[in-house]
């Protein structure tokens, strides 16, 4: 059993035999992860899967340079690569440290959402709740416009104005 020829770390479990036009055989060996990354293997997964999301968007990040993989949170010491491998953050600050790549991930995982709406800790008072309400109403306004429900859109617009004052 050999190692993956691509990452040279993991056990190769995916074996590919290429027969060239000349009839010559070429054997290649990858681990599952590299096979997926090289586009040789499709993994079927149901619905939203965090790894898929991370994979696909990390793939995008790789093209734009490797600066991201060097990003490390000073607070908890977690690197972007570690987060990417396990899908878990190390501390609350990571949400700000990795803000930029996180934005794309969140949008994919949460259907385009960028801001929280809903319950807030009681200790934070009402100011934040209003901001959230405005956010929620703006999203609903966009939905109403998309659905050409102009009556509802006008209603929502008025409520947003009220709250903004």
């Amino acid at each position: 059993m050999g190692l993956c020829e691509r990452c040279k770390k993991a056990q190769a479990t995916f074996h590919l035999t290429n027969i060239k036009p000349s009839g010559e055989k070429e054997e290649r060996h990858f681990c599952e992860r590299c096979a997926v990354e090289a586009g040789l293997l499709q993994i079927q997964k149901p619905s939203v899967n965090l790894n898929d999301i991370i994979e696909s968007f990390v793939g995008g990040a790789k093209e734009s340079g490797s600066a991201l993989s060097n990003l490390v949170c000073e607070e908890c010491g977690i690197s972007y690569v570690e987060f990417r491998n396990h899908g878990l953050f190390g501390c609350p600050r990571d949400y700000d440290v990795f803000k930029e790549p996180l934005a794309k991930l969140l949008e994919r995982a949460h259907d385009g959402a960028t801001h929280h709406t809903g319950k807030t800790p009681k200790s934070l008072g009402t100011a934040r709740t209003t901001q959230q309400d405005i956010h929620r109403l703006k999203r609903q306004l966009a939905e109403a416009v998309a659905a050409e429900d102009y009556e509802r859109a006008a209603e929502l617009r008025d409520r947003i104005r009220e709250l903004e004052e």
Partner: protein
């Protein structure tokens, strides 16, 4: 083995009563909230001391909250494997929590209708379970539990992202609504893809009985939300209440009616063969038991069978699981011994009715 858990194995648990709205199809409703407390790293970066601190801090807060004074607290780290497996089968802890390492706790109300895990993937995960389709009641209850705990400690909350969680797929509300459904007729009529479509349209996920990574067993399915950011708790609840669940319940009812109308003999044959197996088998695997119990449960609801009661059937679903069987027998059993014990338990329970 933990003596207080022997008692748990014997009793039915509130959410298994087989009552509540739409209980012929909706087994139970569960709402879970994920929270992390301020001043600590998330689980993956917490060292042993920090984990112990987190556990002690949250347990103290829960003990101080008057609303939660009946909760029973257990140290999961100290529990034997079998006791942990029992708690998984009761849906009181996750598999991940059972198999995890380091300081971790569980606490739950004696009715098992509410409970919480400390140091699972997040510092705190609380849940409320209700029999049948009772989403609003479940939400109100967990909202109140959340408030009661928040009075005692400070949660990690971000101005943009809301309640922060170790995994960004849970961030925002940290809510996971799961509705457990029994859909035997849709399986028999090969119409399950309708359910898949209804869930997919609302961006909900379908899983098996024991959540993430589990296979659907014996016609049981769990539907849960995936999106936690940008949609409020009440909007998420409305998706289930107003749209998805009524639609799926309607499909299942239509499939049951169609079976009664067009394939009555085939339906009766399924139900009564299942009953015969349950009443006579001498060896029975867990999957077999699930399948036969599922058909008997359907038989009760379509009025083709009345010699057993629903609660007995619901209890058997849980009590024939491996850890429950071993707790009830008071000893460790291998696979074959479990099949013998399972068959014997079912025969005994179904002849008393």
């Amino acid at each position: 083995m933990n003596a207080s858990l022997d008692e748990v194995a014997r009793r039915p648990g509130e959410w298994l009563r087989g009552s509540g709205p739409l209980h012929d199809i909706v087994i139970s409703t569960r709402v879970r909230l994920a929270r992390n407390i301020r001043g600590f790293p998330f689980q993956p970066r917490a060292d042993a001391d920090q984990r112990a601190d987190i556990a002690a801090t949250i347990e103290a807060a829960v003990r101080k909250a008057a609303r939660l004074n009946e909760f029973q607290h257990l140290d999961v780290e100290e529990l034997e494997e079998l006791d942990r497996a029992l708690l998984v089968e009761r849906h009181l802890i996750s598999r991940q929590h059972a198999e995890g390492r380091g300081a971790r706790r569980v606490a739950f109300h004696p009715s098992e209708a509410s409970g919480l895990m400390i140091n699972e993937e997040d510092h705190l995960r609380m849940q409320v379970m209700r029999s049948g389709f009772q989403l609003e009641q479940a939400w109100e209850e967990i909202d109140a539990i959340d408030d009661a705990i928040e009075e005692q400690l400070e949660y990690e909350f971000h101005p943009q992202y809301g309640y922060l969680t170790a995994c960004p797929t849970n961030v925002g509300t940290g809510i996971r609504v799961s509705v457990m459904l029994h859909l035997p007729a849709l399986r028999l009529t090969s119409e399950l893809e309708k359910v898949g479509q209804a869930a997919k349209d609302m961006k909900l996920a379908i899983r098996g009985l024991y959540g993430e990574g589990s296979e659907a067993q014996g016609d049981f399915f769990q539907i849960s939300n995936q999106i936690t950011l940008g949609r409020g708790e009440s909007e998420i609840i409305d998706d289930f209440r107003g749209v998805v669940i009524p639609k799926i319940v309607e499909y299942e009812h239509a499939a049951r009616d169609a079976l009664l109308k067009n394939r009555l003999h085939a339906l009766d044959d399924r139900i009564w063969r299942a009953m015969a197996q349950l009443q006579n088998a001498r060896l029975m695997s867990s999957n077999e038991a699930m399948q036969y119990l599922s058909h008997v449960r359907m038989g009760l609801h379509v009025g083709r069978l009345s010699s057993v009661d629903l609660q007995t059937v619901n209890e058997l679903f849980i009590q024939t699981q491996p850890a429950h069987l071993q707790k009830l027998q008071g000893e460790r059993l291998n696979g074959e011994q479990r099949s013998i014990a399972r068959a014997a338990l079912i025969r005994a329970r179904l002849s008393n009715n």
